[in-house]
Symmetry: none
Subunit: 396 residues, 2 copies
């Protein structure tokens, strides 16, 4: 039976300075796939729209973000393995350091994950008005806060400081959000008191003595990827957000030891995990994060090296699988901009009997003259269904 | 800070006979920009849709004409500097010659602008039912009529003859438009009486003794370009319609002496005006009309020469500015058709660090293989925002 792997390289696209990292990288496997397949350019959400990774992934996986995106918090919470219930409001959270009423470090001295886990274990609690607060940390200072209870709203402001380095009270942005804003502030006070007393903080120069939240979103269960497209999908990813997107749409998430969601991730382990997942799934969504982080840091060399690692350590597994291979990115993160941009990302499709175009290399410039032309995120699931002959015919 | 210039060459696109005017023109600067930038084809409203200049400009400037276009009259009125109020109904108007009940010249012998101004000064008046008529002439026989009052409607027929050369009474096209149609007819009678007595008409072989109206549209203030896109925009144009589009969306309109909106326009003056406007604006919309008029006249040579003038007299200013440059047209006006057509227009984007494609010339055929592919009007504002790093990220 035909199967497909969709490799999304986060922040893949770039701008020439005078070459792009893809153009500069030594990448025989990428180029072999481009030469033996068809290339094009992808605008994940729409031409020149600058997407966040959350929105771009939803769009590429067939979930129109205008309909299915409701903030990053729930996706992060799902990514950390929290079982959300309809109506939960979830936030991205940071451990931070506050002295008197000044935030002196938004990352609490980049606290290590182990210490943060100990601190986090004390923070889930019952608040007033029947609201439950569920807190879970991820890596370093990062974590999520979930509020559970009746009548909660995502229409609240962030407590994360913007410019002035003060701890902001949570503001309701609509009448319906007053209860939620109060719950956030109550949690903030509770967390502050609890963290101030925690032994783990007693010797820290930058105590993790406050939790800041942002990215509020309300969770509702959506129709699954399987229900909508008839595909048994699995996700192989390191970063919580990407696992969260996969869980949100009901995909199985494979736990891969060593998949860290950064440039040190174990790509061989991810490659092996893809092969295992293909045994009982039609489709694997495979995510690699390191290129995006390098783009944000403006670090051309690290982005190039990450691409070379993907070429050498990950692509051989995909080629070996015999599955159709689709490689693209969720957006461009040009090193020269240190931020996401609205430039298209290259995409290639490789597999048995597909139409091979004249493109010989996988990069932003070569792909522009490829046989796939210009695609949008919404085209990708139909592309995959068509490749593996799982499309429903429209009409008769 | 990054800035951008959008040059819209009216009626730019053409068909090959056997070359297009762009292919035939000597245009080193256009080609230099194409060679150092990226090219593509633009369907201003949608593939193969034949747009009017009003609709095409709105679409390219991010104002979906299905939502924001309500007839040409208000745009022309705004272009002539009339301050419209919500609910005003505006018409394009012509001075014409009527003998008994036959229109013998729709342009009143192409009356000169100065004489027309004198005649126009007598035509604004109070009509019955509390309706105010505001008349203003533009160049030669052209002008606008604005009706102001409660409960007016744009659902009225033109009085301009169609085929039979009779002066048509204004017909209400819906129940709600009876008052407006009566007001138009009352104005027509008033104007006829007034013009018959005007000394300027006494010696004219073709007296300007009647005003014909068409293109009714109701004005409502719309959210500004700045509000919607965060860009401080300025318009450099000769023709009233283009200034009107700019005023409609709240852009600053630069007054350029010598910018006439025809083939004799002072392109150097326009180029200088662009540079001045860039000092305190993020974005300049620059319009050149002459190519469209030549296309309507079926005058290949004049269209080619106008393109050569733009190349020689205008583009050096744009290149000198250091801003990002986008060059395109609002529609094709093939000389062989003497009318607008639905063929795409070439577009090029030039500026620092953009992805350069293999296109070396700026013309309809070369642009078809460019890296931008096929764009629509709605893509242009996102393209500009992305170029100058002013996009809002969608998602996080």
């Amino acid at each position: 039976m035909k199967k497909a792997i969709l490799l999304i390289i986060d922040g893949l696209g770039d701008l020439p300075t005078p070459k792009t990292p893809l153009q500069a990288a030594k990448k025989p496997n990428f180029d072999k796939l481009a030469k033996g397949g068809a290339s094009g350019l992808l605008a994940p959400v729409g031409r020149y729209i600058v997407p966040g990774s959350d929105v771009a992934h939803l769009s590429i996986l067939g979930y129109d973000p205008h309909k299915y995106y409701n903030g990053r918090g729930p996706l992060e919470a799902l990514g950390l393995g929290i079982e959300l219930k309809d109506g939960d409001v979830a936030f991205r959270a940071n451990f931070a350091t506050i002295e008197r009423d000044e935030i002196t470090d938004r990352r609490a001295g980049r606290i290590d994950t182990q210490t943060a886990s100990k601190l986090a274990s004390e923070l889930s609690t019952k608040l007033s008005n029947g609201v439950e607060a569920i807190f879970k940390n991820s890596n370093e200072h990062r974590g999520v806060l979930v509020l559970r209870g009746s009548g909660l709203s995502e229409q609240v402001s962030a407590t994360d400081p913007h410019g002035d380095m003060k701890l902001h009270p949570c503001q309701p942005l609509s009448e319906a959000a007053v209860k939620t804003a109060k719950a956030v502030d109550e949690f903030t006070q509770y967390a502050h008191r609890t963290l101030e007393m925690a032994p783990e903080n007693s010797e820290r120069e930058k105590p993790a003595n406050v939790v800041l939240v942002r990215g509020a979103g309300k969770y509702w269960k959506v129709p699954s990827f399987l229900e909508r497209f008839g595909l048994h999908g699995a996700c192989v990813a390191g970063g919580a957000l990407y696992k969260g997107v996969a869980r949100y749409i009901g995909m199985d998430v494979v736990d891969v030891p060593g998949a860290t969601g950064d440039k040190k991730t174990n790509l061989n382990a991810k490659g092996k995990a893809v092969l295992s997942a293909l045994i009982d799934h039609d489709f694997v969504f495979l995510h690699v994060k390191g290129c995006d982080s390098a783009g944000h840091d403006g670090d051309f060399d690290t982005k190039k090296k990450m691409l070379e690692r993907v070429d050498k350590e990950l692509l051989p597994w995909l080629i070996k699988s015999g599955a159709y291979i689709i490689i693209t990115g969720d957006h461009s993160t040009p090193c020269s901009r240190k931020a996401h941009s609205g430039h298209e990302v290259p995409i290639l499709v490789y597999g048995d009997s597909e139409r091979i175009d004249s493109v010989k290399k996988f990069d932003e410039i070569s792909a522009a003259s490829g046989g796939l032309g210009h695609l949008e995120g919404k085209d990708i699931v139909p592309l995959i269904l068509n490749l593996i002959e799982k499309s429903d015919k429209y009409g008769s």
